[in-house]
Point group: C2
């Protein structure tokens, strides 16, 4: 992490003229209190605090543009901040500057139910969105677990449990409003479902983590609420059996809406947290969406396949309350795991590999964790070939952290050798910058750097993230 | 088209040293014959010929890199050429230079059936691909009609009849190998199904039409061949009834694999060409993919909906030969229409609008065509809100061409006012450069231009296309 020290040395004091200008613009919505800076300078990652000099609460795209223009004139960094749920150090103010908090930009701008699209301000969270559109008969499927903001989800190319059926933010974002490094406002697309009109700016900003521009509005696709939903759960004698069952399900093209893997450690944690009484063995949790007949057909096909892999205790949950209980437990797994080691923090990994290599990748990683007595769990959106190792480390023990990082590094190397990626859905942030080079090679990184230099020539947009200047 | 004249004035003679260098590299695979230059300097668009100075047939990515490096050193344009089926002047050599023909780069590099992916050289065509993978039980769904090359399909962000169910090249391209303007080779992604690893170079090059780099290899997703396929056809009293039926089908989330609209002129043309005897009224042509039960369920739901819109003659075609006959006729529509006016060329438009505005957009456009006595047909991938007006014009009659272009311009303005796009799938090329500005606005175009300048600083990559330098 040497580069962090070097970059932090570049930090300059905030010009008083800029502070005055922003205060005139925002009044009480500009904060320099220690508590507020503290809140915006820490995150769920294992990094220590890196505080912004001030926090600006924007209400409109025009305000974000004015803030960025002012900061640009002074060469001061801007870091977008949504709901603060990112995991790789994305929102940390490495060189100080202004944290632009868009959480109060939480208006639904336009619901076009007849077109299956909605446009929202960047601070709208996915739960709020689904709450506000519930009477339309539509829903927004992307579910990264945390109640993230749509702006943050677009910025990190988030996905989660439903991606196996509905895709990620990459597939579901139709258009963005973005404030560029010079404080101009661009609209990257239309509401048309497809387009060949020029460079795909939407997909360029999706996943750019605030380093090329600040996303202020997001237009996403919605889907009709399925006529029928059912969930199922079953247990396996080994992680390999569970994952091999998933591989077969995907290869057969069964359109499961969700298929989640939890290893025995994960099951033990959610049992303790949610009093579920599940067998403490590797487990798969499914959800099926469709017509009543189609859901029944999918479940029957899945039951046959898991049976071939010695699954036990295949149980249906068609009642909403039973489904909710299971999925709430899955969503609580992160917090449940934190409670397995009091005072710990989690280092979360995020590999994604071609599905045929998934069992091998998980088993080798599991063996590595066991060999080093790590307190951990493997949890995965396995239908996509994506899994997370959550390692519970003592934040005050550098050796413990180093061990977890070494396991992560070996896992990334393993995933890349299997034609996979170092991050399926969490993004790069500070944490994966070296892995990014390993994954793409210097030539492709040079191409990314050329784009960064072109769109942010003075390096004020979330500097020090994704790629080195 | 004034800018064409201006840019053509920039054309410089090819340096003999470059020609010698390329000849050493390629031998007989470098051609400067008039016939070869002619073949690569004309296309399906209404533009006149614009010939390259030479045509280079590359066999490998390394050869493409060597050609580009040599051209870069001399400041000579390079224009990628696949199967020559693009419609907007993409392959025309506006300023001369070297046409890099990748049609002989037609090797399947790696089939990973177990991961549902395949990697091919850029010159592999979609029919060749489906032929070569037929024994795997998988298929590649994207079908723009013409037997286009995968490289060209990626470069223009192509889609076609199956996109309503399977998405476009945007959603289905996992990774590319690209030669950049300085002759370096980059790989833009892995075979992982999803990734948050840095800027989305894959999606940036998809749709960039050779202006940022030359695509030499393409990795795409494959899908299990459906257990059951059936087709259905029905006729309507008006185009409005047909399109309103489609709107309802999409809003209900019925997962149709294809839904194509042909107006009465299109039906008349394919009747004449393929002796089909279809009622000469607006028609919808469906295809359903899934399990036997699911296909039957989808067809029943669709039959109910089209019935509410006064459809007549709803007919199933479950036999492969009947299905093939209908779809072959649909695919022949372009050529069938050309035969409706001997000696004509087609000017094809390509709008895409949010589905709720589709009926209105089609009906107003139809009225405009009728009012100006155009010989035309409207054909559409209507499930995506995408349709084409094919106007049969006399290539030697400037007034006829101008009239068609005026209808197109009014249609684009109409589509943009409805939150749509000027091109759903054909791309920008030479033909839509002004519309692109109208669609995105100067600020977003500036962002695109900054990317172009950063990745192609001497403007040698297919110069004069998409955006003005």
């Amino acid at each position: 992490m040497n580069h962090l020290v070097n970059l932090a040395a570049l930090k300059k004091p905030l010009p008083p003229a800029l502070l005055a200008q922003l205060h005139t613009l925002l009044g009480e919505r500009l904060s320099t209190t220690q508590a507020m800076r503290d809140h915006h300078g820490r995150d769920e990652s294992a990094y220590g605090p890196m505080l912004p000099d001030a926090v600006a609460f924007a209400h409109t795209t025009a305000e974000v543009a004015a803030i960025v223009a002012a900061c640009s004139a002074h060469g001061v960094p801007v870091i977008p901040y949504g709901s603060g749920t990112s995991l790789e150090g994305h929102t940390l103010a490495l060189q100080g500057g202004i944290s632009i908090d868009v959480s109060q930009m939480n208006a639904i701008i336009a619901i076009h139910a007849e077109d299956l699209t909605v446009t929202v301000q960047a601070g709208v969270t996915r739960k709020q969105l689904n709450q506000e559109i519930r009477t339309t008969g539509l829903f927004f499927p992307i579910d990264p677990g945390a109640d993230a903001s749509l702006g943050g989800m677009a910025a990190t190319r988030a996905s989660g449990t439903n991606a196996v059926r509905y895709g990620t933010m990459r597939e579901n974002t139709l258009a963005l409003t973005v404030v560029t490094a010079d404080g101009r406002i661009i609209r990257t697309g239309t509401r048309a479902r497809k387009s060949s009109a020029g460079y795909d700016l939407t997909r360029l900003f999706v996943g750019s983590e605030g380093t090329l521009g600040i996303i202020t509005e997001v237009t996403v696709r919605l889907y009709p609420q399925p006529e029928a939903i059912s969930a199922a759960v079953c247990s396996f004698g080994s992680a390999g059996d569970a994952v091999n069952a998933v591989i077969q399900i995907i290869q057969m093209g069964i359109p499961v809406a969700r298929v989640e893997f939890l290893d025995e450690n994960g099951v033990r944690a959610i049992n303790a947290h949610d009093h579920l009484g599940l067998p403490e063995q590797p487990l798969l949790l499914f959800e099926f969406h469709g017509s009543t007949a189609s859901v029944a057909e999918q479940a029957a096909q899945v039951r046959d396949i898991v049976g071939e892999h010695q699954a036990t205790g295949f149980e249906w949950a068609t009642k909403p309350e039973d489904r909710s209980r299971l999925w709430a437990a899955r969503h609580n797994a992160y917090f449940a795991l934190l409670q397995m080691r009091p005072g710990c923090r989690s280092i979360s990994t995020d590999c994604c590999v071609p599905i045929s290599r998934l069992a091998e990748c998980i088993l080798e990683t599991k063996a590595d964790c066991e060999a080093h007595q790590m307190i951990y769990s493997i949890i995965g959106h396995v239908g996509d070939g994506n899994f997370h190792v959550l390692m519970m480390v003592d934040p005050d023990d550098p050796a413990d952290i180093a061990q977890a990082e070494a396991i992560n590094a070996r896992m990334v190397t393993r995933a890349l050798a299997m034609a996979g990626t170092c991050t399926g859905e969490h993004g790069v942030g500070l944490h994966k910058m070296d892995f990014l080079v390993e994954e793409h090679g210097e030539e492709a990184i040079d191409t990314m750097r050329a784009i960064k230099h072109a769109l942010d020539p003075t390096n004020i947009m979330n500097p020090g993230k994704i790629i080195r200047w």
